[in-house]
């Protein structure tokens, strides 16, 4: 007898958000991610790679630095490299603007955005440092300067949504609404932003993700609950595509940069961080995420193949990165 998967009755839909000048589409699904047997899944999740506005080679693990050898000091060359590596989206992190670090100003930020926009034609996310005042200073100026480019600006929080939201609205950009691992706070911030007049196709939600092994489950379950509210309970204040920035957490861990010889039980140092990134990527993708922000090109290759095959079916392609077995 033929088996029928018991299907879910969906009543909602994730709003479709076009980003960048080329209008790459995010969201739009009418079922949980990859549930192609019971709903529409028009836009596969997108993969973003990080670019920093200063050279992080002294801070980043060797595996990452090697992958971007020669370009980490130059946002334009770095962004190009990301696209070469298959990134759908580039995230320009305005790390140098952190008041606790170099505290560079809006002029520098604008110059770096310009460099990246000139170098690549994929959508660009311009990301601040999660400092409510500093981000207003840089992102508001960027919004105005790049009017009509449909940049994605973030993070916008309940502390600065008015200033950044208003600028995004005035100059035609999209925002990333970040709230701290809580369904109601995510919803609240959405209501505040739409209250400003920001249209639903201009908001992406960042519900905040914990790192793998560092409380990932809290963010994971908040994502699943948001998807459930959006698709099954038709809560139209939660129907935005979601983004997850876990690459940062993964590469910050001690394990991501420990040399192989120091702890061979943890396997090859080159591979370990990549597979931590891949593991968390796959988990959050199944929890409903539409854009993942990662750091390593090998992760992009593996996760892209995963997304393609779990969506479309078919056999796994060749040419994927190999995992060397560490003997000890």
């Amino acid at each position: 007898m033929a088996f029928q998967i018991p299907t879910v009755k969906y009543s909602g839909k994730i709003n479709q958000v076009p980003v960048g000048a080329k209008k790459v589409l995010l969201g739009g699904q009418t079922a949980y991610n990859f549930h192609t047997f019971e709903g529409e899944f028009p836009n596969k999740p997108k993969i973003a790679l990080d670019v920093w506005d200063y050279d992080p080679k002294d801070e980043w693990p060797a595996a990452l630095v090697e992958a971007f050898q020669g370009v980490t000091g130059d946002p334009a060359a770095w962004a190009k490299k990301c696209v070469e590596y298959g990134a759908d989206i580039v995230v320009l992190h305005l790390k140098s603007s952190d008041p606790n670090a170099q505290n560079t100003g809006a002029a520098e930020a604008i110059a770096n955005v310009q460099k990246v926009l000139d170098a690549v034609d994929v959508p660009v996310i311009v990301f601040g440092v999660d400092n409510k005042d500093k981000d207003v200073e840089t992102l508001a100026a960027i919004a105005e300067k790049f009017a009509g480019k449909n940049l994605v600006l973030g993070p916008v929080t309940d502390k600065n949504y008015k200033q950044i939201g208003a600028q995004a609205l005035a100059y035609g950009h999209t925002v990333i609404a970040r709230s701290p691992i809580d369904v109601n706070l995510a919803k609240q911030l959405n209501i505040l932003l739409t209250g400003l007049g920001l249209p639903l196709d201009k908001i992406i939600v960042d519900p905040t993700t914990g790192g793998l092994g560092y409380g990932m489950e809290y963010g994971y379950s908040v994502m699943e609950r948001i998807q459930m509210a959006a698709l099954v309970q038709q809560d139209d204040n939660l129907q935005q595509p979601m983004i997850s920035f876990f690459g940062e957490d993964v590469w910050k861990t001690k394990e991501a940069s420990l040399p192989t010889a120091e702890n061979p039980q943890l396997g090859d140092a080159q591979c370990r961080g990549v597979l931590m990134e891949v593991t968390e990527a796959v988990a959050v993708l199944h929890a409903g995420i539409s854009v993942i922000s990662m750091r390593h090109p090998a992760s992009v290759k593996i996760v892209r193949e995963y997304i393609d095959k779990v969506t479309d079916g078919g056999a796994v392609s060749g040419g994927l990165p190999e995992v060397p077995i560490t003997k000890f």
Partner: protein, 444 residues
């Protein structure tokens, strides 16, 4: 539909004969209702009641145990589709596949390496626990090489029932999961499993055939069944796993068993196997089988498993204690914060990322975050000071400096009063600023 204890009680003999181990029929009924007992324990229940009760009282997904000793792995027993709806109980078993064509010496070396893949994390020992031994002619010898050289538990993989029998005998007392039972051999595998009292896995040609095979095995008296739907593509593996879980929770008894998935038979590439396993740990597999166990792949999967199978309803706290991070010594800085587990994870993650060897003191604050705990008086200067004194940290360090969270800056005065001779420093408000703070911090 689950029955209440009282409803069950009405169907029991009512003699309070204690043969089931419970003091009274009512006590036994209550145990049955909460899943703590099995109906089989009562020898006197009528056939009619038995039928009604076993249908109603069995959990939607059969729980069962594979293996023995420290690697005995309980799978199944799940009751929800999303962990936030209750919790996921039994973590997915992680296995590597070994062919019996490999020499005993190679197998011994491999499983010794697998056994060393153990990681201590927040007081828990994380490790992969299973090996699948596949083949025929040398199945028993290969399986023996696994248990003689490691404490890993075994899943046997051979359609040759004679080979399976020999290997099952060789693993007497080690409770292997044996199979696969297929349409061709199900009756023989069932007979073998019944005699050896071990669980069975079945391999269907597709998800439709699963029901036919579980029916055959159940009719033969087998209860502990693990399902392989036969899926060998990424998409089918995910969709079948989801379909089986939904069907089981919807009351479809033919699919009410834990599953085993074979990323190793989907692709040779271990990186992609890892991705598939990551999906199936979150989405319902009982066991995932990889081509090899290597830290680069297994460690991330173990972390994911730890996270996904954490009970979302338990109070989100970590144990009050001294947590050494990055191998601290007597000159390393000391930080104190609350025992809300998210606070702990974020703070310890940042400290770890800073590479600065440090001592992290976790003070019981009833699971509240710093700001809330301080506002609720659960993180007062006297309290924290007193805890620092009795924690024993003074014996581990040569200095008397301690860093408090920026959001609890107000407790500084009371704390210094309680901790005579100590210097209390105010740390940053946001954990993200800890690395910079620690790098610049000097103990005194």
């Amino acid at each position: 539909m689950a029955l209440t204890g009282i409803q069950i009680f009405k169907m029991l003999p009512g003699t309070n004969c204690k043969k089931c181990g419970a003091a009274t029929c009512l006590a036994f009924a209550m145990n049955l209702a909460s899943g703590k007992a099995e109906l089989d324990a009562c020898p006197d229940v009528s056939a009619e009641s038995r039928e009604k009760l076993s249908a109603a009282s069995a959990p939607p997904i059969r729980p069962l145990i594979i293996g023995y000793g420290p690697t005995a792995t309980k799978i199944g027993g799940e009751t929800v589709l999303f962990r936030h709806e209750k919790t996921f109980y039994n973590p997915t078993g992680i296995a590597a596949l070994i062919n019996d064509s490999e020499s005993d010496a190679d197998i011994a070396a491999k499983v010794k390496r697998f056994q060393k893949l153990q990681y201590l994390r927040v007081g828990l020992n994380l490790r992969p626990e299973l090996v699948v031994v596949k083949g025929g002619a040398r199945l028993a010898e290969a399986a023996k090489a696994v248990v003689d050289n490691s404490d890993l538990s075994v899943i046997l993989y051979s359609e040759d029932v004679a080979a399976l029998k020999k290997a099952t005998d060789a693993l007497a007392g080690k409770n292997p999961l044996i199979g696969p039972a297929t349409k061709a051999n199900a009756a023989d595998v069932a007979a073998l499993a019944k005699e050896a009292k071990v669980p069975v896995w079945l391999k269907a040609v597709n998800i439709d055939e699963v029901a036919e095979l579980t029916k055959t095995l159940t009719a033969a008296g087998i209860k502990d069944i693990v399902i392989d739907s036969g899926a060998r593509t990424v998409k089918d593996a995910f969709t079948d796993s989801l379909g089986i879980r939904r069907a089981a929770l919807g009351g479809n008894r033919d699919y009410g068993f834990p599953t085993i998935a074979f990323p190793v038979e989907i692709t040779d590439n271990l990186a992609m196997q890892t991705a598939v396993a990551a999906a199936l740990i979150a989405k319902y597999a009982g066991v995932v089988v990889l081509s090899d166990l290597d830290g680069a792949s297994v460690f991330p999967l173990l972390l994911e498993r730890l996270n996904i199978f954490t009970d979302p309803q338990r109070p989100m706290t970590v144990v009050q204690d001294i947590y050494p991070i990055n191998n601290p010594d007597e000159n390393s800085p000391v930080l104190v914060t609350t025992n809300f587990s998210l606070t702990y994870f974020i703070v310890s993650g940042e400290v770890e990322g800073s590479r600065v060897p440090s001592w992290l003191l976790i003070k019981d604050s009833e699971g509240l975050s710093v700001m809330t705990a301080w506002a609720a008086g659960k993180f007062s200067g006297d309290d924290v000071g007193m805890y620092v004194k009795k924690s024993g940290i003074a014996d581990k360090i040569k200095h008397k400096s301690i860093i408090i969270p920026g959001y609890a800056a107000a407790i500084l005065g009371d704390m210094e009063e309680e901790l005579q001779g100590w210097k209390v420093a105010i740390g940053p408000r946001e954990a993200a600023h800890l690395p910079k703070f620690l790098k610049e911090f000097k103990v005194s």
